[in-house]
Assembly symmetry: C2
Homo-oligomer: 268 residues x 2
């Protein structure tokens, strides 16, 4: 496994700035976000910026939100963008409860049906779909898929070469079943970040850099490795605090911490 940067960790940087920052730090792959790709002038321009820096695109965030009216159409657009960026992985954040609804089973059925609806598009584009279970505290507003077990069961309803899961430490570290679920998972990506307290208002932007918090990242890393995963270890930190730090310093810390904690090195 090699270190990668998910660009939201350096949220103030453009695609080009992030790719060049990774090159300086010796990181060889980057996960992109669609708003940043759009701000870069679209997928072709963003792909060129990444290529110019000598990097590859590890993933695109995100499709999904199948419980919202535009979810399927928007995910089709995301699939096309992923293909244009030259990555074969689209991360799916599946969507919370529909507006005004409390019906979790119905929302979960919408997620299944949404994935089914875009499956042919993904296959035609050569893009795999990575279901990312989110922490249960996001169940109402972001993802009704809340555990790795649930994500595994959902992925297993689709072809193994097309649909898998994204294991993100922040979302799954607490789960008493996480190791057995990692062992059986079709792992398409492994994200690291950390659980720090207190949660900020809204809970979204309160993650820690790897090593700052309470998640046992080495234990998760060992489980993911034992499951046969050999792809990137992508650092994804949504945090107002981290975003206020100089991005080059963030990258230096990531590289050092990934090596110290996990023995994961840069590709460069």
């Amino acid at each position: 496994m090699r270190l990668a940067l998910n660009q939201i960790t350096t949220n103030r940087w453009s695609v080009r700035e992030a790719a060049e920052g990774c090159a300086r730090a010796g990181i060889g792959a980057i996960g992109l976000w669609r708003d940043k790709v759009a701000a870069a002038g679209g997928a072709a321009a963003a792909a060129r910026a990444v290529r110019d820096a000598g990097l590859t695109v590890s993933s695109l965030c995100r499709g999904g939100f199948f419980t919202a009216p535009d979810g399927i159409a928007d995910t089709r657009r995301a699939i096309a963008e992923a293909a244009a960026l030259g990555t074969d992985l689209l991360v799916l954040v599946c969507g919370g409860l529909p507006d005004g609804s409390r019906d979790l089973p119905a929302a979960r059925a919408m997620v299944h049906d949404g994935i089914a609806a875009v499956l042919d598009d993904a296959a035609a584009a050569g893009v795999r779909l990575g279901i990312e279970p989110l922490h249960p505290m996001f169940c109402a507003d972001r993802s009704v898929i809340t555990t790795l077990g649930e994500a595994n069961r959902l992925a297993e309803r689709f072809p193994a070469d097309r649909v898998g899961v994204v294991v993100d430490a922040y979302h799954v570290w607490w789960d008493p079943c996480v190791e057995q679920e990692i062992a059986r998972a079709r792992i398409l990506a492994f994200h690291i970040d950390d659980w720090v307290l207190p949660l900020p208002e809204g809970a979204l932007l309160g993650r820690g850099l790897p090593g700052e918090g309470r998640a046992d990242l080495p234990r998760l890393y060992r489980a993911v490795a034992a499951a046969g995963y050999t792809g990137p270890v992508e650092v994804e930190v949504l945090s107002e605090r981290v975003w206020a730090m100089p991005p080059d310093e963030v990258l230096e810390r990531l590289v050092a911490e990934a090596d110290a904690l996990l023995g994961v090195s840069r590709s460069g």
Copy 2:
């Protein structure tokens, strides 16, 4: 099932005020908290205040925190207090990760061993221990027991007449396995409250009154009823916003909402 009040819902009221408020609202049982019992002059005085109002004590919150140095001794004191209050149920909040630790399996073993250590005291006092799984967002700091499935597996390692679980809607509503876990659970209490957004800083005091949020309380109620539970439906709302409301008004709303949502009536 009959409606009960967990007194933290009317946090500004003393034990006597809360018991009298319940009597005015026609609620026949109340769950107490130890800090309020202490402020009332101890268990005997608190028990008298509740009895004077014509109520019974449905539960005592809380023992547990077995991952902290004083957890076992403190839970023994809580067992004695529960018995002195005339309730046979002590709610256990099991404790988060020990200071400085990231070792979840070890913390979970400490919880098991803590329950084992107090089991004889509980039996001698005629008090049952109710393991309350908390929402996973409290895993680091409050309870490493995060799902009803995990609480069930833990409870099943102890005698059925001594150890069971507390099903609290706020903590379990998101769980894709909640219905099957309720079906097999030794349910000692059923708490209702609601998931409202956004979470406040710290996440602890942001619950909603039943009906205000996104949890499907009727679905949980039906599952608990189908599992054979016939005890109190205890309303437990930790919320700065609700605590700022006139407590009598809170009780009126609870009574109306429990009837409208669940068909649960007062005992009075």
